[in-house]
Structure formats: structure tokens, C-alpha cells
């Protein structure tokens, strides 16, 4: 039980350590343009990488001494002990469709899909109602922004109707 809990914490501190090392590596390989003067573009990144590595080591120490982070409380009911990976994956998956669809299929379809998916993951049971709300929401946002506020949004494959 306890060791399982530490796993996630260690992964977090580990990612931070890797981040610091990546910055260190990138800075050491940096192409410094000639004439950058005595105080070039490398000093600050070196300081930042040192800081991040130092903090990650501190975190490791804290974790091994049993000092774990407390997950943030939410406004939306109790925090559960175990992550609900199914809902989490559905929400993440819905978000992932957006960059794939926005330019290929256009704003209205991309937004409808992401909206529908997140609502479904959050437990919207009535599929038809969800679908109707998703499409109406996307249409309202699209026309308000592209026609009302002149913010360019990709019309995509629905562009032929305009």
C-alpha cells in the first residue's frame, strides 16, 4: 500500500530531475552566436537547471523520509484515493481529438467532438441530448467569434455550405 503510493511521487520527482538534466544538456550543446559578450545566453539556463536538479533531489529526500504531498482538494466533491483511470483517459482522449480535427474537419466538428467526449466522460447519460447540446454550443461559439468578433476560425469541410 505504502510503496505503491510512493511510486507516483517518485515518478514526479524523477521527471523533475530529468527536466533539469535536459536543460543542462541542451545548454551545454547550445550554439552560442559570436559576439554574445562575456555574459552569454548560457549562464541563466545553467542556473535554472542547477536549481531544478537541486529541488528534485530535495524532493527525493523528502519522499524517502515519508513526507508525501497532499493531493489538492476540489470544489467538486471528495477527492478519491485511487485515480479513476477510465474517466481520466476518456477526458484526455477527447482533448486529443481536437488538434487532430481542428484544421482537417474544421472548428464546428472538432469542438462538437471534444465537447461531447468530455461531457460523456463526466457522466452525461442521455447521448442524444448530449449530441444536440454539443452541436448547438459549437455553432453558437463559431458564429459569435467568426462573424461577430472577426476571430478567424477554420471552417473545415463544412466550409462548402457557406
Amino acid at each position: 500500500m505504502k510503496s505503491k503510493k510512493i511510486g507516483g511521487e517518485l515518478a514526479f520527482a524523477g521527471s523533475l530531475l530529468i527536466l533539469g538534466l535536459v536543460v543542462l544538456y541542451d545548454t551545454s550543446k547550445m550554439l552560442v552566436p559570436p559576439g554574445s559578450g562575456t555574459v552569454g545566453p548560457q549562464i541563466f539556463p545553467y542556473l535554472v537547471s542547477g536549481f531544478v536538479i537541486f529541488i528534485s533531489l530535495g524532493l527525493f529526500l523528502q519522499i524517502f523520509r515519508g513526507n508525501l504531498g497532499t493531493p489538492e482538494g476540489t470544489e467538486f466533491g471528495e477527492v478519491v484515493e485511487k485515480t479513476d483511470f477510465k474517466s481520466l483517459a476518456m477526458v484526455a482522449g477527447s482533448m486529443l481529438t481536437y488538434p487532430l480535427l481542428i484544421e482537417r474537419a474544421g472548428f464546428i466538428i472538432a469542438t462538437s467532438v471534444a465537447f461531447f467526449g468530455v461531457a460523456f466522460a463526466y457522466g452525461a447519460k442521455n447521448l442524444l441530448k448530449n449530441l444536440v447540446i454539443s452541436v448547438i454550443f459549437s455553432l453558437i461559439v463559431y458564429f459569435t467569434f467568426s462573424k461577430g468578433l472577426n476571430v478567424g476560425l477554420p471552417a473545415g469541410i463544412l466550409g462548402i455550405f457557406e
Binding site: D26, L31, G35, V39, P41, L59, T74, F115
Partner: protein
Amino acid sequence: MNSFNSLMEGFASALTLNNLLFGLLGTILGTLVGVLPGIGPALAIALLLPITYSVSPASALIMFAAIYYGAMYGGSTTSILLNTPGESGSVITALEGHQMAKRGRAGSALATAAIGSFIAGTIATLILAFTAPSLAEWAFKVTAADFFALMLIAFTTVGTLLGNSMLRGMASLGVGLVIGLVGSDLQSGAVRLTFGSLQAIDGIETVTVIVSLFALGEALYIAGRAKATGWSIIPMKGKAIMTRQDLKRSWRPWLRGTAIGFPLGVIPAGGSEVPTFLSYAAEKSLSKNKDEFGKGAIEGVAGPEAANNANAAGALVPLLALGLPTSATAAVILVALQTYNIQPGPLLFTTNPEIVWTLIASLFIGNTLLLLLNLPLVRVWAKLLNIPRPYLFSGITAFALMGAYVANNAIFDLWIALGVGVIGFAFRRFGVPITPLIIGLILGPMAELQMRRSLQISGGEFSALYATSMSKILYVILFLVIIGPLVWNFKKKLALKK
């Protein structure tokens, strides 16, 4: 006297019918978004920022000020009726205001919060108008080394005062500093951390990071970690008005809250958590009806709400005069001003005085519009709380993704947004505060600039960083800020052992 004249000129340029309409629209939108549970003022402003892009600078400023006040007030409505503080500054309001609502006094709680915020905001903006110019003048004498030391203090206070672990606050700051490094270095043109991507050379869009961190991170976190329990909304009965008795009990807390909130906003004290808490403690100890506290004492809403608003206005002093943001909301404001091509800092008051004064006048106007609009419409806002949870999060997600895309019309930004969303999830999961990341992202590049400027003058001699007497004093303060909490914790541990 000089400030007074400039302020009047600011009013003259801000007060046109067209601008007032934009202000009205900003108030409505700001409150609308601020009321939604899960959206604090920083996120509300960041989400609404794209709307202000298409209007003229003066109108954008007034609309922006209105959004800002609307979002702040929307947040307190949610705390009172739903017991869900949208941000740390509203925790106390939720505590005491929700109890009042439960006892059927929601109207009085909302009214004392609105009027208190208005009074605190007005007084604080007045002080801002008269102190910021002299601070900016003084800041001319501040050297690059002093600025660097000041930024280190801002980093440390934001990193240590938020959340319950200093190390985790610092981890958040570090990630922000790294994200701030990405792109080409403005001074030398060297390319950093882009890994061959051409789009990353321009750096990472700050607004995208802020929006994704809050909105996408929250949507992921709630989906994965919160039990789907419903919330209880207290129905709003009657009007939001105060009785004579309420007023008598509220006016002193309003003024005391302002007095506590403003100075703590000026110094980097890590946001509105400390001042609202101090105000609550002060009201409790001064009150004759101590037993009412915790069960719905109006003083416990009036004081902290005033402190929260005065604190936010106080944070504008270092922001405008020094270009130094000290809270997440102030950081978003800095980004907004930069998109209108306004660079806050000592130079602003001499190069663009008309813009500063238009902004300050806009703050007064936004605050007034809010009071006029909100008290009568409070029941409409309360209705928004009935939006079902699935659609609330769908809407937040959709707007966040759209915001990330429209900033540059680039899919690249969307991938960044999703990555940052995952960071937001991980931070919440492991109890890491989010604000230090934002401060690091925005202040990091500025700190680097000041450090290199100082070192360039000295020819690379590091002692130049602590050569002036001011920087020496600042480093002593920095030392105390780091050591203070450690000593405090150590003492607590000792006391526990006994």
C-alpha cells in the same frame, strides 16, 4: 495635485458612450465566467482575453478592467451560494458567507460582499493612483542588480508562501523558469530548448500555458480524482440588500479589510490568502458577538471580501510601477497589458502616461458598473450555478482549447496546451501549487535580462550583483524569507515533541 489632473484626463478619455458599452459587456462576461464553479479570476481573465483583441486599445482597457472586477465578484457569489471557493482569496468568504446563506441571509451576504468590494476597490485604486507614480519615479534609481534581487524575493515568497510544502512550491517555480527559457534568446539570438522545432523559436505562448494549466488540468483532475457527488446550491431568496443593522456591522470591517489588504498586496506576500485570513482573524477578535463566527457572522464576510479586493488593487502598484507581478491574477494582467503593447514598469509613467491614467480611470468605472449591475442581477448569476457538471467541464475544455488555437492559429500551440494540461493534472495530484509556475514563466526572462545587464556592466564580475546598498538589504530580506518558515517549522516540531 499632478496625479489628480492626470486622473481627470484619464476619465475624460475613458468615459465615452462606446467605452461604457464595452465596460458593460466586460462586466457581464466577467461575472458570467467568474460565477462558474472551478473558474477563479485569473482563469476567467485569461479565457476572456481573446475577446478584447478586436477592439481599440482604450476600449480594450476599460473592458478588461470590467472583466477583472466582474470575475472577482462572480467568484464571491459562488463561494456564498455554493460553498466552493474559486480561489484561495475566497476561502474565508465561503466559510462565513455560506453559513449566512444557509440561515436564509444570502441576500445580506452578497450585498455586504459587493458593497465592501466596491468601497475597498475604490479606496485602494485611489491610493494606487497617488502612490504608483512616486514609486515609479523612485524605481528609476533602482539598478539592474537591485531589480534582480527584487525578483529573487518575488520568486521565493510566491514559492514558499503558497501550498503546504516549500520544496513543492519551488519545484513549480522551476518548471515555470524552464518553460520561460524555450525559444530564441532576445539578446544573443541563441536558440534554447526548441529541439529543432521552428515553431518553438518564438517561445511558448504565456496565455496558453495559464489557461491550460488551470482549465485543462482541472478538467483532467476532477475526472480522475473526484467522486461524482452533487453539490448543494442554496436557492437565492429575496433581494441582495442590507438592513440598517447589517450596514452598521459592516462598515468598520470594510475599512479594516481595506487597510489590511492593500499593503499586503503591494509587497510580494504571495497573493490574497494571507490578507483575507488576517482580516477574518481581526474581525473575530474585535467582534462583540464572537460566538456568531463560524455560524454566519456578517463581519466575517465584509472584512475578508474588502481585504481581497484591496489586495488585488495593491498588487497593481508593483505591477504598474516596477513591472513586477506578485499573484497569478497580476501575472495575467501583465500579459494582457503586453498584448495591448503596454509594458508596465518605471518607464510607463513617463512614456505612456495617458494609458496608465486611462487604465486607472477604467478601474474606477469598472468597479462602479459592477456595483450597479450586480446587485439587481444577482439572481440571474445564481441561476448559472445550476449548469450540470458534465456540460460545465465540456464548455471549459472547449473554450480553453479554442483559446490555445486562436492565439496564433497553430496546431503546435494545441500540443503545448495538452502537455501543460498534463502538468496541471500532475501538480494537483502531488500537491504542487500552480501560481509559482506562472510567476516563474513570466518573471524568469525578466530576471535573466536584469542579471545579464548587471553583469555586462561589471564585465562578468558576479560581485556586482550585490554591490549596491539596496541589493544588500534585499538579500538580507531574501535570506529571512527562506529561513523564516524553516525556523517556524522547526519550532513547531520541537513543540510537538514536548
